[in-house]
Point group: D3
Chain length 130, copies 6
């Protein structure tokens, strides 16, 4: 169970509702996922985190799908089950195909493997990489 | 210092040289970075790891630059200094601009933050994500 | 299911019961949580771990609540669900309010974010910090 | 070397200087540490991260020293050398004594140990913790 | 639920069945665990990962049981529940006794503790270790 | 530089010297590595940690070399440079050959890879593993 419980829309303060409304409008959905309902107990954190994410995940030099793939990659490396499930859903919505997902997993797995080979073999950084 | 030292091309066995040659040919460079020289003490692992990486990082449903960005994202989450330095170099070579790097970092930082908010608030997976 | 199962009080050896008794007396509770019942299969580890924790979590230069907050912070960073749930309970018992919990989460989230920004931007340690 | 280099005050744009000035004013120091100089290549991220940290680390339900101790705890668990060095310096400035540091380390070490014992013994969450 | 679902033997393509058959033959079992059924959506990754594991886990300078113990140690440090459960099962099959499991956990816990003490105390590598 | 500096034998209190003496006697060496000299600022933690390690790393159901291999595996997964260097040295002293080290690295790398494949593919634990 969520540590402080979840705050549903009908029970939310106006400032929390404003964030929920913006989440739904930005994402073009009619529901808000549990992460925000859990964080809503701290309306300042809710607003700050949502504003940060909205800014960071917006189209820019990287397209939104690539950003979602990166989000999944980090969540998988951190073994965060909720984050994996929710960001796979977001990535699919933004165009991730099964073929893309499979390649993503292959790269994430390989990177986690070679990160440790580097550590164990105590490899020093090559001059051209510095 | 590398745990077992580094094996330079001139000191390498024919099977190791064959991998080095393939690395240089595939990457269109005239040098081999320390990771491979360290791993070359285990020629079977050298060949297996290189064949795996070559297969995984090849163009597919995801383009090679996106794959490198994902590699950097994982390496940053794991705090692997060598991997960060070397894969930033690879990513640049494949077209990563400074603007892309900055957005990549923003996403990686945000994902690491929200992964922990999810854990601490003990957020349960929403039905639509299952 | 716990790897080796849980050892209940009535099934425990005298040496395990002695630890259980000390846990309940020290914590002023009438039950023992699953962590200890799982570890009880290794009575030497049970005693060692309990003695270590009792020594480390006792009042000292840091007060016990601060120590519990730190315990939660680490458990959240490691994504250990059991540890998060049990140490949030302990922290509440020692006086953690909802307001404190929310600030704790904000700091933990931020630290996990900036840790990765530092890694990716490859920031060198400032001379005054060395 | 920092990935994009460091931006010194004299080379900074007005918006970056404004953040540097606020950092120095808030912290009552006359210098800015490398983290900010590295992040300054992304002025939007610089401002967002600084505003977030200033809000999160301000006195509240938890005092600023406790927040710094938590920051150190997370950085140590993540093995982020820069973050450990810089936040130990911040914590000292806010009143962390050697005795407090030693107890902090003991708790962080113990938490990392028991987190893994929990994982390996596959301990299920007790009903009262849910 | 598995991201892409599980592919059962009767629904598998000939190339996937060939891997399943080899897994069962190598392990002398009559079933295939979920990991492979999930990965089977990417037959190339399935074959590559299985071939890698078969090569790596085969008897060599380290005996297969020791390799399984190491696999458990890593999985516990990474807090990967599935991997812990499945590799404890494999380790038992290769001869891990309860006594061995308990000692394994003690070492893993201690290593995770001292890793962080080293980080926090910022210990420099001794010359003889370099 | 070590956070609190290192305490050399000639500057150590009798209780710290007693631990140093026991470390050298147990390990049959004439020097003490930096980890202990850094931790010596907290004589209670020094004694507790040394007693714990001595108990845990002693011969038992697992032989001391296997325990050192596990210690290296964890340290590599955590990317703790000092711990990797020092425990590779310990493992060599207890009989780790180059061939064993290479196989150890292969297993650690593979485990870190498959741990993430499991997470991303969201594989559920098979009934027989529970």
């Amino acid at each position: 169970m969520a540590t402080l419980g979840l705050i549903e829309y009908q029970d939310a303060s106006p400032e929390v509702r404003a964030v929920y409304d913006d989440i739904m409008a930005t994402r073009k959905t009619d529901w808000v996922n549990n992460f925000w309902k859990a964080l809503a107990h701290d309306p300042v954190a809710l607003k700050r985190t949502w504003e940060d994410i909205k800014q960071i995940m917006a189209p820019g030099a990287l397209d939104p799908l690539v950003k979602e793939l990166i989000y999944v990659a980090v969540s998988v490396s951190n073994q965060c089950d909720y984050c994996i499930a929710s960001h796979i859903a977001s990535a699919r919505k933004k165009g991730m195909t099964d073929a893309m997902f499979k390649e993503l997993m292959a790269v994430v797995g390989m990177a986690n493997e070679t990160n440790r080979l580097v550590a164990g073999y105590q490899v020093e950084i090559d001059a051209p990489f510095q």
